[in-house]
């Protein structure tokens, strides 16, 4: 426990690496096949946002514990343009990048916790957690 996996996100191939690492980690700490897929999907979304809006950044994967549950923590950080209105970004269908605007609100539904810290021009940190059970 406690180890961190850092995946630099530089190109769309890194999105695949990040989600595969996330799945493997989730499997190691006992998540079901469905939850592994859920976690991998959420990682795919935030990693793609990094590529799309910030060009590069990183995904940091780690595990945590809140007795008796174990959890996986996904941090997606970049030093891109930042999100001006976080509330808006979390609404279904809101997109400044002609996407479906499903990524962030979808991640909120997929994961148990999602928190966004962002400031304009400085970058974005999305932290997501999912607990076993």
């Amino acid at each position: 426990m406690g180890d961190e996996i850092r995946v630099p996100i530089d190109s769309d191939a890194d999105i695949v690496i990040a989600r595969q690492q996330g799945r493997a980690l989730a499997e190691r700490i006992g998540f079901s096949a469905t939850d592994q897929t859920i976690i991998a999907t959420a990682i795919s979304e935030v990693a793609r946002n990094i590529i799309k809006f910030a060009k590069r950044g990183e995904i940091i994967l780690s595990t945590t514990m809140k007795n008796p549950e174990r959890g996986v923590v996904v941090v997606a950080r970049d030093q891109g343009p930042g999100i001006v209105d976080i509330q808006l970004a979390l609404q279904d269908g809101y997109s400044t990048g002609n996407g479906l605007g499903m990524g962030l609100p979808g991640c909120k539904r997929l994961m148990d916790e999602l928190e966004i810290k962002s400031s304009k021009g400085k970058g974005t940190i999305v932290t997501m957690k999912k607990w076993t059970t």
């Binding site: 469905t34 007795n67 008796p68 059970t133």
Partner: protein, 305 residues
């Protein structure tokens, strides 16, 4: 260097390690003692376990084998001050003994007994030097408490996990996915659905669709009294996910209240395939499958009203 107030002559080889006076040195002393008397002490402990009628679900040999393993892990935790190995062992032990009906109080009981057995042996050994005995006990006590705590907590956690698993298994049984004919599944949902159960039902159904190669699914919710918007959303997701696997879903037994909930959360009911009752749903399913309808009574006599 030595502040020991014991008479030098009596301390003999004991004096060496305790001279440092630190807790670490005292623990080292203690560990050496426990190692030296391993055989006798774990026998004593196993005997006390049997006398106290603990772990009655296990045989003498099993108790002795576990006692030995716990004893060694215990001494190691005292020596290294790290509890991971002990924690791991406690989990593993719990996993093995919980299915055999061992109770929490028994596990707490045996750890406290070990604490007692060891404390008594320390008394016997150091009674000649009360001050030293006190220091040894001062060093021993917190470590022993932590060990007891680690083992007990490990057990309780494992037990909770087991109970949760059992609950899940029971839930799984309580909503069968029925195959009434080739390519047709029925999922009769009865009772209260919370988000957890809703999720479980969906997973079960999706697996069922795949293994049975189902093309049509009838979800009957006649037996569901109410649904909050979360669960209603879950139902919509179940329908969508089933379609992604290539199966068409027909929902039957939709009460006006639930229909209202669905409309409120923005579901377009015309896009959902709904049929009044289960019989009608099956007929519709068979029409979709291109087969002749079979009376419901022949498929499932119990549900005939």
């Amino acid at each position: 260097m030595s502040k020991s107030n014991s008479k030098e002559g009596e301390v003999k080889k004991v004096a060496e390690p305790v001279r440092g006076e630190t807790t670490a040195a005292l623990l080292r002393e203690l560990v050496a003692h426990l190692r030296q008397n391993r055989t006798q002490l774990r026998q004593e402990w196993a005997k006390r376990i049997t006398e106290a009628k603990l772990l009655t679900a296990m045989s003498q040999e099993e108790i002795f084998a576990e006692a030995t393993a716990v004893y060694d892990n215990y001494v190691e935790a005292l020596e290294t001050g790290t509890f991971e190995a002990l924690q791991g062992y406690a989990r593993n032990l719990s996993e093995r003994i919980i299915p055999r009906g061992v109770e929490t109080h028994e596990v707490v009981g045996i750890v406290l007994l070990l604490r007692d057995v060891l404390a008594r042996s320390l008394f016997a050994k150091y009674q000649h030097d009360f001050a030293l005995l006190n220091r040894i006990l001062d060093a021993y006590e917190p470590a022993a408490n932590r060990i007891a705590n680690t083992v007990a907590v490990g057990f309780v956690q494992e037990r909770e996990r087991t109970i949760r698993q059992q609950q899940e298994a029971i839930r799984e049984l309580s909503t069968p996915v029925l195959q009434v004919r080739e390519r047709l599944l029925i999922l009769p949902i009865i009772g209260v659905i919370d988000p957890q159960r809703s999720r479980q039902l969906t997973e079960q159904l999706l697996r069922g669709i795949r293994t049975n190669r189902a093309k049509v699914v009838v979800i009957d919710i006649t037996g569901v009294a109410a649904m909050d918007s979360n669960v209603a959303n879950g139902l919509v997701q179940t329908v969508e996910a089933s379609r992604l696997l290539g199966a068409t879903v027909i929902v039957t037994g939709l009460s006006p209240e639930i229909a209202q909930t669905l409309v409120t959360i923005g579901v377009d009911l015309t896009k959902m395939n709904t049929v009044g009752d289960l019989q009608g749903g099956i007929e519709e399913a068979e029409r979709l499958l291109g087969v002749k309808a079979v009376p419901l009574s022949l498929i499932e006599p119990q549900t005939k009203s």
